[in-house]
Symmetry: C2
Subunit: 158 residues, 2 copies
């Protein structure tokens, strides 16, 4: 049962992660000014693969525990926001809308982590890398928005 | 508690539904050949609004019940696939990839409905309009793909 739950949560993560291939950072992203602390490109796929596995494992543990309803509702919200961010940022080039989405995602991941910690200590701990990585990604979204003001005021809107 | 759960699930639905505005059907979609039974445009926003409210209510009921883990895992998977479909179809114009996503979504909504029915009869019934509407949407995706073969073999790939 835990394996089945893990695979269902992982399928949701694969759907979310597929946006990284479908809406790949192309010419537009390469030409943007980026902060000096931007992580190398290869690190993103490594980190997301690890994070998706960890958050699926965490959710499967919570799903077999009692009273996991609120925690799983928050998990569902975060994976939806996770799926939304990439098409908006890399597909539409809407850096400002992307920033709002990722800040909402960060708050939801924090709430999910707290809810998981209250149900199962290990599940909460498994969410920590995700929390850290989304914080980095949110800072990166903000920095790129600030460093490329012309991109945000041009045709594509907010 | 049920209200809070309802609002969290509804927030996920709002994120999913926002793709309808962010990746609005534009010129490209208007110019595609469509089957005679295509529902009128206004019906889509009415149906989706109703469906999102019903599926959030259903999920909130399941979240306070016992043993809802599997059902909520399936709910999380379906809302992720729901979020993914619009950017792929209307954003990338990838009708064939869209068809695979919506068929996977249909199977997941069917599984979610069955899982909900086993926990709470009303929650399962609340999912029925969604199941019907995604079936219609999947048929429409397929019909448009068949009616516009040139669109699918051109530049944008599968």
């Amino acid at each position: 049962m835990t394996i089945l739950l893990f695979l269902i949560f992982l399928a949701a993560c694969v759907a979310a992660g597929s946006t990284g291939a479908l809406f790949a950072p192309g010419e537009w992203y390469r030409n943007l000014r980026k902060p000096s602390w931007t992580p190398p490109s290869w690190l993103f796929s490594v980190m997301w693969t690890a994070i998706y596995l960890l958050m699926s494992w965490a959710a499967a543990r919570v799903a077999i525990a009692e009273d996991g309803g609120l925690a799983l509702a928050l998990w569902a919200l975060q994976i939806t926001l996770n799926t939304l961010w990439t098409p908006v940022f890399f597909g539409l080039h809407r850096m400002r809308a992307g920033l709002w989405i990722i800040l909402f995602l960060l708050a939801t991941v924090a709430a999910t982590t707290i809810a998981f910690l209250q149900i199962d200590l290990l599940s909460g701990i498994l969410m920590i890398p995700y929390l850290i990585w989304v914080s980095v990604a949110a800072c990166l979204n903000y920095a790129i928005l600030r460093l490329n003001p012309d991109e945000t005021t041009s045709g594509r809107g907010w």
